[in-house]
Amino acid sequence: MNILLLATLLTAHSPARAEEPNAGSPVPTRSAVASAPQDMTADAPAASSDPTPIVGPPAGPPLSGKALEDATRTIASQLRCPVCQGLSVADSPSESAVAIKREVERLAAQGYTEAQCLLYFEASYGEFIRLEPKAEGLNLLVWAGPGALLVFGLGVIAWMRLGNRKPPAPRTLPPVDPALEPFVRQVYAVVGEGQS
């Protein structure tokens, strides 16, 4: 069996689901303003999802409308879609991503801040769900590393330019046959400004 296909299946990650879940929950549209993210049927609401025990009470004001949309998108773009390869929850069309996005919208509407939302998902999914590593501990390598390299490089360049400066040697040319003047000028035209 095709190895790539086998790998996809064995890793047991669902490819992007195009069909909707049967539950009848409407996909929230941008024009829907803070509508109930899922259809709370009379049957049974689902799992407990009160973040307060984990992240504390909502630290910000409840949001709605455009502010809610923006907050949802910002937070969703920081969360990794759990069944995709590297896409954010905001970008991914898969059902898992859509479900998480709904949850983010629900939390943001209640006033939980970005930091709280990220912490909430980290509590069940682990650090892996954050698309950028927290700036602490060993992770500082990726945050400070490039900057440190740039500073170091600038230092090297500065040392090369300033330390090794000598005045450019004056160009002394042997006397040129006057008959060759036009050719010399042509050469300079090509070489002086041209091919680098």
Binding site: N2, V142, L180, V184, G194
Partner: protein, 648 residues
Amino acid sequence: MLGYLGMGCVLAALVFAAAGSIVGFTAGRRESPEGVKWTRWLGLAFSACMIGATVAMEVALLTHDFSVRYVAQVGSLSTPTYITIVSLWSSLEGSILFWGFVLALYISISIWLTHDRSSPALADAIATWLGVGAFFCFLMAGPANPFLPLASPVMSDGPGPNPLLQNHILMVVHPPMLYLGYVGMTIPFGFAISALLRGSLGPAELKELRNALMVPWGFLSIGIVLGAWWAYDVLGWGGYWAWDPVENASLLPWLTGTAALHSAMLPGRRGTMKGWTTTLVLVSFLLTLLGTFMTRSGVFNSVHSFSQSDIGPTFLGFIAITLVFSVVVVAMRIDRLEGEGEGGAIVSRESAFLLNNLLFVGLTFTVFIGTTYPLLAEAIRGTKVSVGEPYYNQMAVPLGVGILFLMGVGPALPWGQPTPERMRALIPPAVVGVLAGALGWAFEVRTVWPVLALVCAGFAACVTVMELYGAFRIGFARQTRRIGGYVVHAGIIMMLVAVAMSSAYRVDTEMHLKKGVTVPFQGYTLTYTGKQTIEESNRTRQLASVDVRKDGQVITTLSPALNNYPQMGAPIGTPAVYTTAGHDLYLSLMSIDSGEIGVHAFQTPLMVWLWLGGGVVALGTLISLVPARGTVAVRSSTPAVVPGAAEA
């Protein structure tokens, strides 16, 4: 039969490559022209066998010879012929064979192009190429053997290549372009090793090195842009770059290659930076090896990954050997390479080149550490972390804007000492830059980095146009490399502006379209009119027709689709895109039935300029490879050749 023929060719290739490598390095040390000739012939023999093996595999694929295990894995009677041809590189073992094939092409062409020279330096270069070739033959003879026979019974049909790879015509073009880029880096690597071993890099060798680098760099550029186009046109999430480890792996050698192409201009001008340029070329090749490792080892979490396989450790072993070899050669020989040269003033083109290298190397390091950090974190802390788009956006954007700025300032500054007139010549481009920023402001571009990007882009574009004008005045035929370079710059500027605007100002909405009901979206209206089901030999397609209207008039009908392949559980979508100069309207189908469809709609500004820019870069690369007229030193009977007249 074909299986055994193929295996025989691979083994023969291995023998020729190993022999050629040994003979070549010996000939290089002993300075023997006879040895060079032998090395050449062994190189050609290796190439012939490698090409033979590939032909054998293609024939096996096309005749559906399921007794060969690879054909049984990826072949199928129901896939269209062009996909069968292309399935050569659709899975691991075949992709290694393809690598060998492209390497054989490069080596044979390079040997042919240098047939009029017999210097021992060439022996070293060929020996290096063949050493790399020997490794890939070893992989094919052992852990990644595509010609293994299948234990009986032989099947009558196969599953075909992964459907994701059958979904779009770009599958035919994107991998070969990338391979031509990756594999091609072996050639300048050989020249660089040769230069280091001999301790010399003269103008002729430098020119050869530059041209050898330019070709794979061009292919890599095209390959990367095609990959982005594939992601955009095929995967349906509306974006084109996800900072996936394998995507990053293709970007890394491109970044160091670009740095090397620039720093390679300094030895010709100033006699400096030979060692650095050579090192950059080595690093570019090593990064291509690393990139291959990332794709094939199963160690990285990536959408491109082939599964965990045995070749991972073998590959890592080869990488380790090549790394150590390169470090040792550089350490032992780099001091011999340096020329005497002046560095020019602080504010001069030399400095701009140095800063260019700094920024590109900085960007390389950022992408590299972002890609490998999850491995380090897991090894040390035991937890998995992600390094994704938000990280790269924060780190890469300032560097990108810096590069845009340098593209303006660098060409505008003179070599050596700046003069007041040259500094004054910077004013018009600066004005254009500010105007570009103001234009953006008028179009609602109000956030910091996009505005800065526009200002720098305007500045750089103006400088580029001015330089092109100056070069054309001297004459195209004489200025091909300079013109080619600035055309590439123009292309890069287009692409960077497109990237900046499309990522910062994309608008998207998920919506349900009921049949016949018109829904507005960003100045258009969308109406779902009906669905269509098409049966093809390897899949069933469901298309949704959506009428797009602007100001009441139907301007186009988009047909996003969902494709069902029998072996995949969920369908794979094909988005539909309507392109204008200003933006793209992009529809991705989420669900379909006769009464209603679910779509994800995007409006992305300036997308088309990304692809056009890529085309311009390709054009510029071609132009710069055209040999310029007047490159031969002035043929004159008098000996008074003007000093400082560098060979172009």
